[in-house]
Structures are given as C-alpha cells and as structure tokens.
C-alpha cells in the first residue's frame, strides 16, 4: 500500500453543502410520501433504499469520502458487507426454522 496522500487540498464550498442539504430534505419528503403509499412488502426495501441514498449523500459530501482516498471507501464497504453477511446468516436461521 503506497503512502496515503493528505487530500486536504480541496475545500468544499458552502454552496455544495447547501445543495446536498436540499437534496436530503427532498429525499426526506419522498420517504414520507412512499410510506403513505400502499406498498406492503416492498415498503421496507423502498425505505431502506431511500435512506441509503441519504446516507450516501452524507458520506460522500459531508463526510468528505468523495475527496478521500479509495482506501477508506473500500474499508467502509467492507465493514458494511460484514454486517450484511452477519444479518443474512442470522436470517438463514430465523427464516428457515
């Protein structure tokens, strides 16, 4: 692994953050609208998907992942995969008893 560079050159503009914030609020509205709709078993997935889009926006811009090295991004994905597999393995029990 080569030496990580600082990546501190880029200062994010207030405006960029504001745009992200607007997007987040729109998504919040979308979340609530979707919940009002009759989607039964798809509602969980729809909700999780929209939440994940919000989370990705926060991660990418507010938490600077867009401007950090690939190492941190890959690590985060790895950690999330670990948690996902743990949940999946648990459900291989819970669902098939």
């Amino acid at each position: 692994m080569k030496r990580e560079t600082e990546g501190e050159v880029h200062i994010v503009e207030y405006r960029t953050y504001a745009y992200v914030w607007v997007a987040l609020l729109i998504l919040l509205g979308l979340t609530i609208a979707v919940a009002e709709m009759e989607m039964s078993k798809y509602s969980v997935i729809a909700n999780l998907l929209i939440s994940s889009v919000k989370a990705i926006l926060v991660l990418t811009f507010f938490m600077h992942l867009k401007y950090e090295g690939a190492f941190l991004r890959r690590l985060l994905i790895t950690v999330l995969c670990v948690l996902t597999f743990v949940i999946m393995l648990t459900f291989s029990d819970v669902w098939y008893r």
Partner: protein
C-alpha cells in the same frame, strides 16, 4: 522522529475506525429489529402508528440541517473564518439540543400513556407491540446518548475554535468531530423509517 506529517491522517483513520466499531454496535440492534419485525409485521405496523410522524420528521430535518451547519463550520475554519465556524458549531449544538428536547417530549408522552417496557399497560398487549417499544426505547435511547456526547464534544470544539487552537492549518479535531456527528445523523436516517414509517 518525524511524525507531524502522519498525525492528521492517523487521527482521521482513528476516527473512521471508531465509526466502523459504531456501525457494528448499532448493527447488533438493527439485527434484532429486523428479526423481530419479520416475526411480527402486523404488530410493528400498528405500533408505529403510536409514533408522532410530525415530530419524527421534524427531528430528521433538524439533524440533517445540523449536519449541514457542522460541515460548513469546517469549511469556514479552513477559509480562516474562525468566528463563523464557531457560530456554525453553536447552531449545530442548538439543533442537537432541539432534537433531544423533542425526543424527551416524545418519550414523556409515551411514558404518560403507559407505553414503556414492562409497564402494566404494555404487558397486557401483544408480544410484537412489546418488542417494538423495547426496541424503540433502546435504539432511540442509545442514539440520543450519542447525540448528547456529540453536543459535549462540539462544545469543546467551539472553545478550541474560539481560542485559536483549531486553525486553518490545524483543524483535524474539528473535522473528526464532524465525522462523528454525521455518523449520528446517518443512524437516525435509518432509525426514522424503521420506527415511524412502518407500512
């Protein structure tokens, strides 16, 4: 030994690694939630109606906005504007306190109605509802605790920003505080639909 070049990135890694541990910590709770929800879908749906959608949505908007001000506070200090940064951090804290105040009100209102773990009211209700509220208090409670800790830490950051310890060249601790705060925001982004929007 030459260490200064490493310090900032090391500190950033340290905070990210800590956040990874938090993902697993909350992950255990999300695991329990998902198992019990799959077991009691109808009861979870009914129980979620006890939640006040308005306050839940308001709290979500509050946290999202607090993330905005927190992120902006770092750009401010990097542009050399310590006063703006400190102001933005203070606004973040105000939002955080508002979040906790609303939560306090929500909890109080539920407890007054007898909806708390092992209450006489709840014990008479079905198992799914009991589990829903158990999870509700545990997850929002631990989340709220994390919000509280964040408020305390940001308070220290305001002090450091005001006294010039945090500068445009030396802002790593503020940035890492921001990372923590955004993480707390993301946890709520997932908590909100799970408890308020179960359809």
């Amino acid at each position: 030994m030459e260490k200064t070049a490493h310090d900032t990135l090391a500190a950033k890694y340290g905070m990210w690694f800590f956040l990874f541990t938090e993902i697993l910590f909350f992950g255990g709770m999300f695991l329990l939630y998902s198992v019990f929800r799959s077991k009691f879908p109808v009861e979870f749906h009914a129980a979620a109606k006890e939640e006040d959608l308005f306050f839940g949505s308001l709290n979500t908007a509050i946290l999202l906005t607090s993330s905005l001000t927190m992120a902006m506070s770092i750009s401010a200090v990097r542009k050399g504007n310590n006063r703006l940064s400190a102001l933005l951090q203070a606004v973040t804290i105000v939002f955080g306190i508002s979040f906790l105040a609303i939560k306090y009100f929500e909890w109080g209102e539920k407890i007054a109605r007898g909806l708390y773990p092992n209450s006489p009211v709840l014990v008479k209700m079905d198992q799914g509802t009991n589990l829903f509220f158990g999870l509700y208090y545990v997850m929002t409670g631990l989340h709220g605790l994390h919000v509280f800790v964040g408020i305390v830490v940001i308070s220290f950051m305001i002090y450091f920003t005001g006294t010039g310890t945090v500068t445009s060249q030396n802002f790593s601790r503020l940035e890492n505080t921001g990372l923590y705060w955004h993480f707390v925001d993301i946890v709520w982004i997932y908590l909100f639909p799970l408890f308020y929007l179960v359809t």
